[in-house]
């Protein structure tokens, strides 16, 4: 069996497009004078940066859903945790410039009569520590959660429901003022990141490019995982978990690893999202957000990685346009998208393209078309 190349043609197209995007956008923003018709306003740079962060979230979700059959309805939780870790770093950078001028405590803590910084805030004044937490906190949660769930063979719908319960519980927890993380209002009013003012044009462009690079790296990591020998087992687990187990593999190990890496990627996406939108609040944990991320992947095509990223950008662009033009129509459109994609485009955009133009081997890697009566099929297998 020949090794699959790390970057296939579809990947080259994706990376080239991404690189071009990350070159053109800063050029049009910084290089073209403000009065010119070609000039790109800075707010659009941040908006595109937000799309790329969502694309990374979609990519992380595709890694578990498309390649290992775990439909996580709680990836927003990992995204939010990464975002909060970054938000805590940014809060600590405000220093005495807050409304209350307290050099140590963020404004909301002064307001809530905190006397000293809670222990879990210690260390967040260092970027390196915060960056570590962006990976470690979602990773650890995913590891513990996944290890428990996969070991006891919680699969399918049940897994989806408990991931949803997880993000719901986190949302309730972060809404509490006693949590010491800003409660309802979350963390906002950021000033500096690594010494550069967050609002400045240059910083925003840099954050945009950083998000693009993170997306490219995320793609390479996910690709590396899925084309390796490990990835082949992962796909085997997706398609026939009991059979893989009977062949002597431990599906729970493969799933836990994929789930943990995916959660870390979602955490990075959240961390890059927060400085670009300037706020993180418990609303990010809302179960609806996580489900919305699932539809990005479904639209783009699950099990294709490139498709997930593409789907996130397309759906969010549509959301920006529609909520601006016809606010009432957005939920109708999003709802219809869910229905139409599941009914008529189960493979998504990229999946449909592969099926049309791809090689037989590329087709074989797509998630199988579910049978109409898998109950009977599985009874036959198991």
């Amino acid at each position: 069996m020949t090794r699959t190349r790390l970057i296939d043609p579809k990947g080259w197209i994706f990376l080239a497009a991404l690189a071009a995007f990350c070159l053109v956008v800063p050029l049009l923003n910084l290089g073209v004078a403000e009065g010119s018709g070609l000039h790109l306003p800075t707010y659009l740079v941040s908006l595109f940066g937000k799309y790329l962060a969502f694309a990374l979230l979609a990519l992380s979700l595709d890694l578990v859903w498309g390649y290992c059959g775990i439909l996580s309805l709680g990836h927003g939780a990992f995204f939010g945790l990464g975002g909060y870790a970054m938000g805590m770093y940014l809060m600590r950078q405000i220093g005495p410039r807050g409304v209350y001028g307290n050099p140590v405590l963020p404004d909301f803590m002064v307001f809530l009569n905190y006397k000293e910084l809670p222990w879990y805030w210690l260390g967040f004044d260092h970027f390196a520590f915060a960056a570590l937490m962006v990976l470690a906190v979602p990773g650890l949660l995913a590891f513990v959660f996944g290890w428990l769930a996969f070991r006891s063979r919680v699969t399918g719908v049940y897994l989806s429901i408990i991931t949803q319960a997880m993000t719901f519980a986190l949302m309730l927890a972060f809404f509490r003022n006693d949590m010491g993380l800003g409660g309802n209002n979350g963390l906002t009013d950021f000033k500096d990141i690594l010494g550069f003012p967050v609002q400045a044009q240059g910083t925003r462009v840099a954050l945009f490019v950083a998000t693009g690079i993170a997306l490219a790296l995320g793609y390479l990591v996910a690709r590396f995982m899925t084309v390796s020998a490990y990835g082949k087992i992962l796909i085997a687990v997706r398609d026939a978990e009991p059979r893989t187990r009977f062949l002597g593999y431990r599906p729970e190990h493969y799933k836990t690893l994929a789930f943990t890496v995916s959660a870390m990627m979602a955490g990075v996406a959240g961390a890059l999202y927060v400085p670009q939108v300037g706020i993180i609040n418990p609303g990010e944990f809302a179960p609806t957000n996580s489900i919305e991320a699932v539809i990005w992947v479904a639209v783009g095509g699950r099990g294709t990685l490139v498709g997930a990223a593409l789907g996130a950008v397309i759906v969010n662009y549509a959301k920006t346009v529609l909520t601006g033009a016809m606010p009432d129509a957005w939920l109708f459109a999003l709802g219809a998208l869910f229905v139409v994609v599941t009914l008529f485009m189960p493979k998504g955009i990229v999946g449909s393209l592969i099926e049309r133009f791809g090689s037989p081997r590329a087709k074989a890697k797509l998630p199988p078309e579910p049978e109409i009566a898998p109950k009977l099929a599985e009874e036959g297998q198991g």
């Binding site: 439909l71 959660f145 428990l148 769930a149 070991r151 006891s152 063979r153 919680v154 399918g156 719908v157 049940y158 989806s160 429901i161 408990i162 949803q164 319960a165 997880m166 719901f168 519980a169 309730l172 927890a173 809404f175 509490r176 179960p287 609806t288 489900i291 699932v294 539809i295 479904a298 009432d328 939920l331 109708f332 999003l334 709802g335 219809a336 998208l337 869910f338 229905v339 994609v341 599941t342 009914l343 189960p346 579910p370 049978e371 109409i372 009566a373 898998p374 109950k375 009977l376 599985e378 009874e379 198991g382």
Partner: protein, 528 residues
């Protein structure tokens, strides 16, 4: 409290002094005065006299309708434009009248006096209220009236209240002998509420006699134990009430998810549709037949069932039937449907809450062994049980239920036996959705009827069904009640939000342990 006691003490001392200098000292003449001291003494004397006109005179004074003639100290009551003699009630004519004035002190004295008068009221509920008022005021002036009332009282409940009031007065009055104070304690204890504890605390802290102090201390412990049990029972009741709401929300899902295996994320929106149907039905009744308003909920139930059920059948025929056996895809598609339904309702009815009224029989509360139970909640508990039993009956005892179970267990075999499986699918899904609509009727009574109504229930409903065991209605019942009661029992210790989080974490961990819920179905049919 202490101020009132001091006040009544002063009053007790002042009254004889006033009595000495007013020569023909009857209550009516004392009232006819511009001295607040005289008026107050007059009120007390009138209340103690047992005069049948006393009530009318005192309420006239309270409302500023009592007038007097300074010349001969005659009293009159103004009734509209006419005057009446205060002593006899006969119509009268008079000139140069001045109103009997009242200040806050007088009004307090009036309240106490009216309390005394109520002690003799023929209505048991009013006597009891009066006794409670005396219990709270602890005015020694009321003692003779209390003794008289106790002697003639026949109702056991009122008698207990009177005894407690008398005991409270005795304990508050200085100079009560030790033995009487000791004897007074059990009656206070028998009341067994927060006020009783407050009185016992005062006694335990400041009584001069050690024996009385110790007895009061023991009394506090007993009352506190009883109160703790009552509070726990109240929490259990709240829990049952919450559990019944969860049951109502989840029971339709127990059909669509539990029996059919469809992840219906639009389930909450079926509940919402039911609530909006109730709103529309009430609106129509208000406009066309206001007399039927008390029946509005009963009329709404079949309407909500039909509306939500029809939408459910439409969803099943239009979307879900193409997705059988792909549970994760149904999840996404029905989530899309839920967004569309929410936005549709928002566009039609607006984003704000709609007002759904409660019929008369739903309002009010009653007292059961110290538990305060609201009628509305009680009806919802009973209603949810009725829905549960009705559903159980349909699934177990009817031909339709038999077909549903057959299709669930083995679709191909059922089809081979001549069951029209697509029809059964549509009807079963319609049944589950219709029951969600019925739940919406009940939930419209306790929740805001807004487009987001369903969102609040969907996660809880799924957790209830999963916790109880998919495909098992009894499991859903047990799970809903367990989660409801556990939530309310945790709440006093952790607060509402943490209690909820704790339960979510518990369910997540529980599913690791028993992935198929509390009451898992056994056999190969459920393995997929």
């Amino acid at each position: 409290m202490i101020r009132i006691i001091i006040l009544s003490l002063l009053l007790g001392l002042a009254a004889p002094a006033v009595a000495q200098d007013a020569v023909p000292a009857d209550a009516y003449t004392r009232l006819a005065s511009d001295s607040y001291g005289d008026i107050e003494a007059g009120i007390a004397a009138l209340a103690a006299s047992g005069d049948p006109r006393a009530g009318a005179v005192l309420s006239a004074l309270g409302e500023g309708r009592l007038l007097y003639r300074p010349a001969d100290k005659a009293l009159f009551i103004k009734q509209g434009d006419a005057l009446a003699d205060a002593r006899t009630g006969a119509p009268a004519q008079a000139e140069g009248l001045k109103p009997v004035r009242a200040n806050n002190k007088i009004r307090r004295a009036l309240d106490a006096a009216q309390g005394q008068l109520n002690l003799a009221s023929p209505d048991a509920a009013r006597r009891r209220e009066a006794a409670d008022a005396v219990f709270k005021a602890r005015d020694p002036v009321a003692l003779p009236a209390l003794d008289a009332a106790l002697a003639r009282e026949s109702d056991a409940g009122v008698k207990r209240a009177l005894a407690a009031a008398r005991a409270a007065v005795l304990l508050a009055k200085p100079g009560t002998p030790d033995a009487e104070r000791l004897a007074a304690l059990p009656s206070i204890q028998a009341r067994g509420d927060g006020d009783a504890i407050a009185i016992l605390r005062t006694v335990a802290a400041s009584d001069p006699n050690e024996t009385v102090k110790a007895a009061a201390g023991r009394g506090i412990q007993q009352v506190e134990t009883r109160l703790a049990i009552a509070a726990a029972a109240q929490n259990v009741w709240y829990g049952v009430s919450l559990g019944s709401v969860l049951l109502l929300a989840a029971i339709g899902l127990a059909i669509t998810f539990g029996v059919m295996g469809i992840i219906n994320m639009a389930h909450g929106e079926m509940v919402m549709l039911g609530a909006y149907t109730t709103y529309l039905v009430q609106d129509a009744i208000r406009a066309h037949a206001p007399g039927l308003f008390d029946w509005s909920l009963a009329i709404s139930i079949p309407c909500a069932f039909l509306v939500a059920g029809a939408v459910g059948v439409a969803i099943e025929r239009g979307i879900i039937r193409f997705l059988y056996g792909r549970p994760l895809e149904t999840l996404l598609a029905t989530f899309g449907v839920s967004l569309i339904l929410q936005q549709a309702v928002r566009s039609i009815f607006g984003p704000t809450n709609r007002e759904v009224g409660s019929p008369g029989f739903m309002s009010g509360a009653f007292d059961l062994f110290g538990l305060s139970i609201t009628w509305g909640r009680l009806w919802i508990v009973l209603f949810s049980l009725a829905v549960f039993l009705g559903l159980l009956f349909v699934l177990r005892k009817t031909a339709f239920g038999l077909k549903t179970r057959a299709v669930t267990q083995n679709r191909r075999m059922a089809a081979a036996m001549g069951i029209r499986t697509p029809w059964v699918d549509a009807m079963t899904f319609g049944l589950g959705s219709g029951i969600a609509g019925i739940a919406g009727v009940a939930l419209s009574q306790i929740d805001n009827v807004s487009p987001n109504l369903g969102q609040g229930y969907i996660i809880d409903s799924f957790l209830v069904v999963v916790f109880g065991g998919v495909g098992n209605l009894w499991g859903t019942l047990v799970a809903a009640l367990t989660l409801g009661v556990a939530n309310k029992l945790f709440e006093p210790y952790f607060g509402a939000v943490l209690a909820k989080i704790a339960l979510l974490v518990f369910i997540i961990l529980f599913i690791q342990k028993r992935p198929r819920g509390l009451f898992a179905l056994k056999g190969r049919a459920v393995e997929s």
